[in-house]
């Protein structure tokens, strides 16, 4: 119970900070809307409904990945400003609770962007899923968590480097490849109805479990590093 209370304490703080500044959400919304609108203008989705269904999963997740990266560095920048992170390093509260709280906050921010983006994406690309649409309710949160949990961890890892804005994508993109593949394939399966997404959902679930456990276990070491 105490652990959950610590997580909630961090989460509440991050939500309050974002509510006051709106740094992460504004940046992500602008970026994803730009990608969706520009790509919709690059080709006519209404003329190629089959091709649109084939590529929409990839478009959606690549836009979300790049948007999430703009927010992830921002979320740790708050902790380094005024050296607040040093206060965390001296406190007896579990370090992993700080990580989980921040990952949950980032998850909520990215989910909020997805909620705004989903209807716009559907309208711009004239999408009518041919598979079981409800499965998107499993794929979207799992995929978002996979992006966010790794992103939050590697953003913390690159905090003390001089060129952290460059370093994060360099580390995060290769390591997210299995998850990206699974979430794109699963989303495409739902949109096209050509194959079952279950296998890809299982792959995504396994990825999420493995990487969440690893990040939680290693975060104390990352926080304590000089």
């Amino acid at each position: 119970m105490n652990y959950a209370r610590h997580v909630l304490n961090h989460l509440r703080k991050d939500l309050r900070l974002e509510w006051r500044t709106k740094d992460s959400i504004n940046g992500m919304l602008f970026f994803t809307l730009l990608v969706v609108v520009v790509l919709a203008m690059a080709f006519d989705p209404a003329s190629f409904p089959s091709m649109t269904r084939q590529i929409s999963g990839g478009l959606l997740w690549v836009a979300m990945l790049f948007a999430a990266m703009t927010a992830l560095n921002q979320s740790w920048a708050r902790e380094t400003h005024n050296s607040v992170l040093d206060a965390h390093r001296l406190s007896p509260a579990p370090a992993s609770a700080l990580f989980i709280g921040k990952a949950l906050a980032n998850f909520l921010f990215v989910t909020a962007v997805e909620v705004v983006l989903a209807p716009i994406f559907t309208i711009f690309y004239n999408l009518q899923p041919l598979g079981q649409t409800w499965k998107l309710l499993v794929i979207l949160p799992l995929g978002t968590w996979a992006l966010v949990v790794n992103g939050t961890f590697f953003a913390a890892l690159s905090l003390r480097t001089r060129n952290r804005d460059t370093l994060l994508p360099l580390i995060l993109l290769p390591i997210s490849m299995p998850a990206l593949l699974a979430m794109i394939q699963a989303t495409t399966a739902v949109l096209t109805g050509q194959f079952e997404p279950t296998l890809w959902i299982k792959v995504l679930l396994a990825y999420v479990i493995i990487f969440t456990t690893a990040c939680v276990m290693l975060f104390q070491t990352v926080l304590s590093a000089d």
Binding site: N2, R5, H6, N9, R12, K13, R16, L17, R20, T21, R78, H81, N82, S83, V84, D86, A87, H88, R89, L90, S91, P92, A93, S224, D226
Partner: protein, 274 residues
């Protein structure tokens, strides 16, 4: 220079080992609060600290002086466990500093507070980080609020102030930062230039608060240990039971300037300059 391979009796050079207060009604830890053995800290080829060996007895109140770049802040960070020594060994109450989370509090030049939150929101949040092991009679949330409000009031800030910390004056930030470290009720309090942005009145209030603070036993029942750095030696006089001087990364002098006799109700000071 003391050799740390010698047996303890031989290692106890009078100018390297600081005594505990003469009369201490509250329990003093048998272990030294801080023990440094030939500690050096390098940044590339630059040595910020050079072979510093030192013991501070639990319950001592120490002021550290030195010019800019003498290594004062680095030494505090090493003791706090925020930086590892390049060479040598650091112990706080007999353990490596990184194993003493919650026992040590550190106030740096930076406020270690969120600019976008109010003082009360900041301190309630930090109180939440220290609530484990405390036994509040009220709910945890009320306990956090009460602890935060009390800490702010003690440093002369209004808990009801709705201004964000980023909008505070430098002096107010400094006091909010002090409130943050005091609410954690540490056994070892490390303060880096705590008076630097304060007017004379505020500095005197802070000194009074610190004098009261070191006189109280910690939640662990130990006398509290204080180590602060300052350029304003005259201001820190009442706190300087012992004065250390650093120069170019070396510990050049340790002077016992006064002894404080701790009493339950306050502090009596007897100056014994030498």
């Amino acid at each position: 220079m003391t050799s740390w391979n010698d047996p303890p009796a031989a290692a106890a050079e009078p100018d390297q080992k600081l005594p505990a207060p003469a009369e201490a009604p509250v329990a003093a830890s048998a272990l030294p609060a801080v023990e440094l053995k030939r500690v050096s800290r390098l940044y590339g080829s630059f040595a910020a600290l050079r072979e510093i060996s030192l013991q501070l007895a639990a319950g001592s109140s120490v002021v550290m002086l030195g010019e800019n770049g003498a290594g004062k802040s680095t030494l505090l960070k090493v003791i706090a466990g925020l930086q590892s020594p390049s060479y040598g060994e650091t112990k706080v109450f007999g353990e490596e500093p990184r194993h003493q989370r919650g026992v040590v509090a550190y106030m740096s030049h930076a406020t270690m507070l969120y600019d976008e939150l109010t003082g009360m929101e900041n301190l309630s949040y930090f109180a939440g980080l220290y609530e484990d092991g405390r036994k509040p009679l009220v709910s945890k949330r009320s306990w956090r609020s009460e602890t935060a409000a009390q800490a702010l009031t003690e440093v002369g800030l209004d808990p009801g102030n709705t201004r964000r910390v980023g909008e505070y004056s430098q002096g107010m930030r400094q006091r909010a930062s002090l409130a943050r470290v005091l609410l954690s009720e540490p056994d070892l309090l490390l303060l880096d230039e705590p008076f630097s942005n304060l007017d004379a009145g505020s500095a005197q209030s802070m000194i009074s608060r610190l004098l009261g603070y070191v006189a109280e036993p910690s939640p662990n029942g130990l006398t509290r240990t204080l180590l602060l750095t300052t350029h304003q030696a005259e201001l820190a006089g009442p706190l300087a039971q012992t004065t250390l001087t650093l120069s170019k990364g070396r510990l050049v002098s340790i002077v016992e300037t006064s002894r404080m006799v701790r009493k339950a109700g306050g502090v009596e000071e007897m100056r014994t300059d030498r």
